[in-house]
Each structure stands twice: as C-alpha cells, then as structure tokens.
C-alpha cells in the first residue's frame, strides 16, 4: 500500500533558526514527491518536487528537500526561518501519474 506520513502536526521555530519538516512515505514503486505550502486562507502552492533526478531538490523561498531512498524520507528544510514562512505544509507522493496521496499537514509557527 502507498502512503505518506508527516511526523509532526505542529512545528515551532524562532525567526532566523533552521526549519525541519519531516515526511516519510511507503511504496513499492519509485515515487514522485512534492511539498506544498498553504498560507492562511490561501490555496496550495508548489514549493518543490522530486522526480528521480537529483536527490537534493531546491525549491522556492529558500526551501530544499532531500530524497533518501534508504530511509524512505523526503524532509523539507530551510536554513533560516522567516516570519512569512508561517503556514501549513503538505507532503505529497505520487506513484502512478495522476493519483496523489497527501500527508496530514504540518503547521509551522515562526516566533519573532
């Protein structure tokens, strides 16, 4: 069975400190992996995606994620949090093209 797990429902960081949002997946196939961000009262915006090219993927707004097959993980990181990063983040996995499986989301709070 295919699934995706976001290990933390809430993460709080101080402004200027690193961000780590964790995502693990289970699959028998080679996945495509995505991170989306949802700011309050907004739609979902694609941050970055992994598609079996480079395992370290750079996205928008300074975010990046590393695909680790041995750990079945795709954690999202940013070296220095900004107040504008406060949002809901979703890890998404796709195995068969047009079917996408969403994690339950991680709410990121940035403390000034």
């Amino acid at each position: 069975a295919q699934s995706v797990t976001q290990l933390d429902s809430h993460v709080s960081v101080s402004e200027g400190t690193p961000v780590l949002l964790r995502c693990n997946y289970s699959s028998s196939y080679s996945p495509s992996l995505f991170w989306y961000v949802q700011h309050p009262n907004k739609g979902l915006q694609l941050l970055l995606k992994y598609t079996s090219a480079a395992t370290l993927v750079k996205g928008i707004n300074g975010f990046e994620a590393e695909f680790k097959k041995s750990e079945t993980s795709f954690h999202l990181t940013k070296p220095s949090a900004h107040m504008s990063d406060a949002a809901e983040y979703f890890c998404v996995v796709s195995f068969t093209g047009n079917q996408f499986y969403f994690g339950t989301g991680t709410s990121l709070t940035v403390i000034p």
Binding site: Q38, G43, Q45, K49, T51, S94, N98, F100, G105, S107
Partner: protein, 114 residues
C-alpha cells in the same frame, strides 16, 4: 493569467439549498480534481476526471455531482446542502512538467452552510 481558477471564492447558503462551484484551468492539463479541506486542514480527494472521464470517485454522498463539459472545466454541484458540507473546496489540475505529473491548485471556495 491565473492557471487554475474557481468561482465563487466564498459561498454562504442555507441548509437544503443547491449550489455549484466552477473550476477552470488554462494549463492544457488532461486531469482535474476536487478536494475537500476540513477545519483540521485535512485534504480529502473527492473526484478526479481525465479527459472528461471520471477516474476517481471516493466515498462521497451522491448529493455531490461533478460535471466536466470539456477538458478545461470541472464543476461541482451540491444538492440539499447540509451543515457538514461546510469546508473549503479546492479544484486542481495535473499534467506532466519536468519529468512528473504535477498538481496545481485553485485558490479554494469557502462554503458555509447555515
């Protein structure tokens, strides 16, 4: 030049009414989706259409009926609205970009049933 657009953005209505939400994408994608996001932010797939054909139909009350007049449009009609239908509904489309099918989302429609 919004990629995926939805109307209306907000919808407030009484229980028992019938309402529709429209979605359009100008990305040339073959596949479109409807998702429901509840108050806890969980996103649940409702329907998926590929080239106007229904391919995913999750356990959704049959009061919800999607309609795809063409590849660029996927509308959602809801009959006999109930309080539990209050949520944010997102339309999305997907197509192949940079080696993978990628989803793009509309801005959402916040439905409030009174």
């Amino acid at each position: 030049d919004t990629a995926v657009s939805q109307t209306p953005k907000y919808l407030v209505t009484q229980m028992g009414n019938d309402k529709s939400i429209k979605c359009e994408q100008n990305l040339g994608h073959d596949t479109m989706y409807w998702y429901k996001q509840d108050s806890k932010k969980f996103l649940k797939i409702m329907f998926s259409y590929n080239n106007k054909e229904l391919i995913i139909n999750e356990t959704v009350p049959n009061r919800f009926s999607p309609k795809s007049p063409d590849k660029a449009h996927l509308n959602l009609h809801i009959n006999s609205l109930e309080l539990g239908d209050s949520a944010v509904y997102f339309c999305a489309s997907s197509g192949r970009t940079s080696g993978a099918d990628t989803q793009y989302f509309g801005p959402g429609t916040r439905l409030t049933v009174l």
